[in-house]
Amino acid sequence: MVQLYQVAVRSRLLLGTARYPSPAVLAAAVQAARAEVVTVSLRRESGGERSGQAFWSLVRELGVRVLPNTAGCHSVKEALTTAHMAREVFGTTWIKLEVIGEDDTLQPDVFGLTEAARLLCAEGFEVFPYTTEDLVVAERLLAAGCRVLMPWGAPIGSGRGLNNLFGLRALRAHFPEVPLIIDAGLGVPSHAAQALELGFDAVLVNTAVAQARDPVQMAAAFALAVEAGAAARLAGPIEPRDMAAPSTPLIGTAFRG
């Protein structure tokens, strides 16, 4: 189980809801992923089209918990206003806090992020900050009141996997008790398995599933990978070594001596 503030979730795969070929495929993917938490957002609504209303009905029918994000926000002010709007619409104090600092990489503005996190935590929000693997920033976010961290694996939508293994391992080692969710940049299920093997508590995946040729099958594949990685972590992986170590016993080898 992963403890996300007051809620313990069984599934270690959180799923984004954007960029699917259709609402039906999204719904099937959420089920195939066995996801208990999905991310959602807020966008301008047209009174005529009301596309957001249909989407919200769909998500409610899925019976999953929603984690609203502040995607697209580039300042503390924008993020705070979006968080307040999300809390009202979605009826949750959970907020995946994104404050973007650089458009090519969508790298978090960690200065704005820590400030926004401090203000939102003080207001009673349960903040899931989208951050880098930086240890000092992580420390500041925890001091601000965050109880979950969401470090990036790689830039959003890049599919590159865990870009900075050293940094991510250090983050895991420094904060052994903090729920850590790898958010962004995963491309294939083996990336997710690797994250869980390293001891991360969960992963959040969107583009890798939504843009796959068969999103439903890919969602199922990620679910298996996450289970495999978590089981491997519990089983205790061996340490890598530089030299070979024969796995077949040498005693009694034929043709020797």
């Binding site: 596309s51 209303q53 009202e88 969107n206």
Partner: protein
């Protein structure tokens, strides 16, 4: 008066935010609102007076990652 709703100019006869939402057909839709970058809770929309040039945001649930 002219106000800006979701980035587009809107000529409104309403004096309060709730009236503008009615004009635009939001009715009972699940939306959240902000005026000039400040969140306006649903409970105070009827008492939120607007002035010419105000920037209104009307947001709804949308897909997100």
């Amino acid at each position: 008066m002219k106000i800006i709703v979701n980035g587009a100019v809107h000529e409104t006869a309403a004096a309060e935010l709730s009236g503008v939402l009615g004009e635009l057909g939001f009715g009972e839709a699940v939306v959240s609102t902000a005026v000039n970058g400040e969140f306006v809770p649903a409970s105070v929309r009827a008492h939120t007076a607007l002035a010419a040039g105000d920037r209104v945001e009307v947001l709804a649930p949308m897909q997100g990652g």
